[in-house]
Amino acid sequence: MSEPVLSIRDLSVSFPHATVVDGVGFDVMPGEIVGVVGESGSGKSMTARSVLRLLPKLATIAGSIRFRGQEVLAMSPREIRAMRGALVSMVFQDPMTSFNPVLRIGDQIAEAMTLHGKTDRKTIAERVSSLLASVGIANPKARARAYPHEFSGGMRQRALTAMAVANGPALLIADEPTTALDVTVQDQILQLMRDLNEKSGTAILLITHNIAVVASLCQRLIVMYAGRVVEDGPADAVLTKPRHPYTWALLQSVPRLDRAQDGPDTRLIAIKGQPPDPAQPLAGCKFHPRCPWVEERCTIAEPPLEGGVRCWVRPAL
């Protein structure tokens, strides 16, 4: 078996009054698309940002993140910069704030390449238009001279993806890449990521709150809740036979177009209560106050992540 591109072990991210990522571990294999699903406060974005060391100043980070065997947490600022954008790159939710509004799109993509040693202007210009063409932007040579505000939201997210893959990274981290987009544009961006993965073998770590987006794209699925991984397995299995009560509840609580009987006479199975406050440590399983299968042991000690599930009870779901 080949080496993982990314290997995270015992990762914790803490702020002065709260631990937001707590003992997270998983691998991403070359060419694999791994989805991390969770709600706000689950720690999914902080986990993703840790890989590029893009955390707020106040955050302290512990554990191990290995990229192709090299310890990211031990890298010097210079080594980090050499890695960012070249070997590992990131696409964020909001393509408007990811671009500099006063620079042309093409120049910003070119800059991403010059920073990592490519210098010949003509080759760069050609590469910029071929990248824009590859993400489905018509008339790429002319569009490279446009400013971010002249692009629609979907086009900006395509251009951002073009910039992210400009240097042929081994790993692309996409943090809610389609959340701000319309459903037809979302589908195009998902297709774009699928193509990138198939054509160039780029591994993708997809962070999202939308469990359907994961089904569309990912081979593996990691479910996070309150800073913990609660379930980890093949996307197929997790989505059709979830084993953790939270994953099951999350799948039940969304209205779905693939279920024939759904309408104003049916009720959604809602998850009661709300996610725990990270500033107020909770004994036992982090999901126990909201779990329909809670038992006494769940309130006392936290279950370990065993066989891809973090649950004492393991009810038949």
């Binding site: 709600e39 706000s40 939201g153 319309d182 459903v183 037809t184 979302q186 589908d187 998902l190 709150h209 939308n210 469990i211 359907a212 987006v213 994961v214 089904a215 569309s216 996307a235 197929d236 989505l239 059709t240 509840a249 999350l250 799948l251 609580s253 969304v254 209205p255 779905r256 177009l257 693939d258 759904d262 309408g263 104003p264 049916t266 009720r267 959604l268 199975i269 809602a270 998850i271 009661k272 709300q274 996610p275 909201r290």
Partner: protein
Amino acid sequence: MRPLVKVRHVTKQFARNKAVDDVSFEIAAGETLGLVGESGSGKSTLGRVVVGLLPATRGETIVDGQDVALLRGSARKALWRHAQMVFQDPYSSLNPRMTVRDALAEPLRNFGIARGAEADRLIRETLDACGLSTTAMARYPKEFSGGQRQRIGIARALIVRPNFIVADEPVSALDVSIQAQIINLLQDLKTGFGLTYLFIAHDLAVIRHVSNRVAVMYRGKLVETAPASALYATPRHPYTQLLLRSVPVPDPRAEALRRQSVKGAEAVNPEAGDAGCPFAARCPKAQFPTCSATAPLLTEKAANHQAACHFA
């Protein structure tokens, strides 16, 4: 059934941009009409015009027998007693300096419904109906989570006991596990208080779940209206078909089938111009010059099922 809301040929123009373009529909008493469309389709603007928060450029909106545009002063206030709005963002639709009690007492006072002890009784009753504890009364919006804040926003609309509520993306800013709670709450309130909803959302699955009837909006126009079951089972307009095929589903096998079906659901037609059908430029079924010459009107294609397409 008696129509509670009648919207006739409503146009709302901002400068040169027609955000809403000659839209007509009715909502029967006790019905939920789902209004779905992508960003910029004009669905929020339409919602605001219907409830009288924005004046229409042309056309009329009749709520409970009264023309919203003609109402002034106290008559308009009286309308708002019957037609209320729930907003997407409970963070910005509540005054951060008002306690929950003050926020809920204000409309009671404004409409001359109740004061003092009677107001407090109504506030407690409404908070309870919205799943909030009465201890919430003395607290400020910032002390609540997003889901609870949306419950406060709903309570504020409900406190005057309206019969019609326009809910504009009421769950899209909320976490997935909280969305279901709020959707269920809105359904319970509909039954409990006999409400009629115009439910605006971009999420097609949410719209199907809450709606009796659905209207699809594209670039300011209604392109299709039908009972929810018919619209989702047999969409007539190519735009509705594209939208429905674009929604990923959480079942991997169903998702693989969907990905197959979405191929060819969208086209690039450079011959489409500004005249004609608004969807012509993206429509896989477009035939030129028909589709670039005249804009199709919303017409009956099957029982209660209307679409604005030359070829649907």
